[in-house]
Symmetry: C2
């Protein structure tokens, strides 16, 4: 594994030098004028369409997919997309903003199982048992596309490339989870943190945001729960990486100053 654990796309050159938090302000090409929270955007005109489900579909196929997708009103920080044990009915594609999934035990202790950025699919853990296995909530002002699963299944039979692509999305989730398994089972706090940042970086790059400068929408606590570390440790690692000149942190704003050396840190665990 030469790359970060979450790096499922090679880092592309980010067009935006600054992604100062407000993702919705994105001047440039015509399509981009459309506010990403806007619930009327169709799959065909969505700027994420080649990262998301429509990937590999032709125009008429996209139209069919469009017909089954429901676009809800935006979510604000803390709003739940669904809760643990809710009946499974849809998978969701993040259109803007970000979400976290977490598992809550009876005793009330929560553990974050994943973060989701634009173009990524949420809710596949519910397919098997017909209940969502965890809860997921918005980390900031966000919007999603609701894809009723039974309809997706039906359409998949009609459109081989949709079926294949959805299998691929699920397979990717499995492969990614296995890498996280490896990360948690044998990497140090610093290695995990470096990997986490590199993973975010390439996921931002994937949606044409800066891979080196971004806003963390999750708390240190969330990161800790995800990486199996405490808040204090995450905080300490951040300051230590900053002292070494690898990153620069100002509260939620983070800049990766030396990706190469961050990769080296991660590689030490291999």
């Amino acid at each position: 594994m030469a790359n970060s654990v979450e790096n499922n796309a090679d880092i592309e050159e980010g067009r935006l030098t600054t992604a100062k938090g407000n993702i919705s302000v994105r001047p440039s090409a015509t399509v981009l004028k459309i506010c990403p929270h806007n619930p009327t955007v169709s799959c065909a005109s969505c700027r994420l369409n080649e990262l998301c489900l429509p990937l590999a579909l032709n125009k008429s196929e996209i139209h069919k997919l469009d017909a089954i997708v429901e676009r809800n009103r935006p979510f604000t920080k803390g709003d739940h997309l669904y809760r643990q044990s809710d009946e499974f009915k849809s998978v969701y594609a993040v259109r803007s903003g970000s979400f976290k999934s977490y598992f809550l035990s009876d005793s009330g202790k929560g553990r974050v199982t994943g973060f989701y950025l634009p173009g990524e699919i949420i809710g596949m853990d519910g397919i098997a048992s017909n209940k969502y296995a965890n809860s997921t909530s918005a980390l900031e002002h966000s919007s999603i596309c609701d894809i009723p699963f039974s309809q997706l299944e039906k359409l998949s039979r009609e459109l081989p490339s949709l079926q294949h692509h959805f299998f691929a999305i699920m397979g990717n989730e499995i492969a990614k989870d296995q890498q996280v398994h490896t990360l948690l089972s044998s990497y140090s706090a610093e290695e995990r943190t470096a990997s986490f940042l590199l993973g975010l970086s390439s996921r931002y790059a994937r949606v044409s945001l800066s891979p080196t400068r971004f806003l963390l929408s999750m708390t240190r606590g969330d990161i800790g729960e995800y990486l199996g570390l405490t808040v204090e440790t995450v905080s300490r690692i951040f300051t230590s990486l900053q002292k070494k000149g690898l990153i620069s942190v100002d509260n939620r704003e983070i800049e990766l100053l030396d990706i190469k050396r961050l990769r080296d840190i991660f590689s030490r665990g291999e």
Copy 2:
């Protein structure tokens, strides 16, 4: 989570009940005489058929599935089913024995990502990238069914219940991986080990083997790699659980003497 992390019995319950309408009740005794390594057993007569892919298929559908499944000669301990980066072409169903999947880093350090028992499906991590993300090898004398993926995809379009079931199998893998994520990120060595044993127990129960007395086909080292612990720690926990009277271990032979208290140990981490 009232149960062990690997206890997918709960998860599958929903599916089983819904599916029960579709399948005829298993005749039982007669079928079991057939040697499980026997490569000529068809899906229809396989004693695992209601746990494995054919679940939820009717007779004529099973016949179609049968036609695409290839049954290879048995594997012996250490034989590889596939290796990391091999071209993805099939998923595999374990017919007998057991396998481990592991990720090998450039430096040669391996990390076990999963164990597979009869009736379970291997190789789904390769779907997305068309390459297997890890290697998997037999832990003992074992046999598998080779299910060429492109054929499975094609057949899935014809047989809605097969498509649904395969989505469910992948969804189950995702849900299970997330539980392992939780396990590794916040449970102690003892809690992880208890959960591991309980998970094996319910998986053995699923294939009608004793849930309280079984042989570990993997080494302490494998278990450690899987749980993010060292060999020494696993060994110590085993002896300590034995001293407390919760289990009885004799080398690879293990007996769970007090499942209830094992669950309690696991629950402490919740």
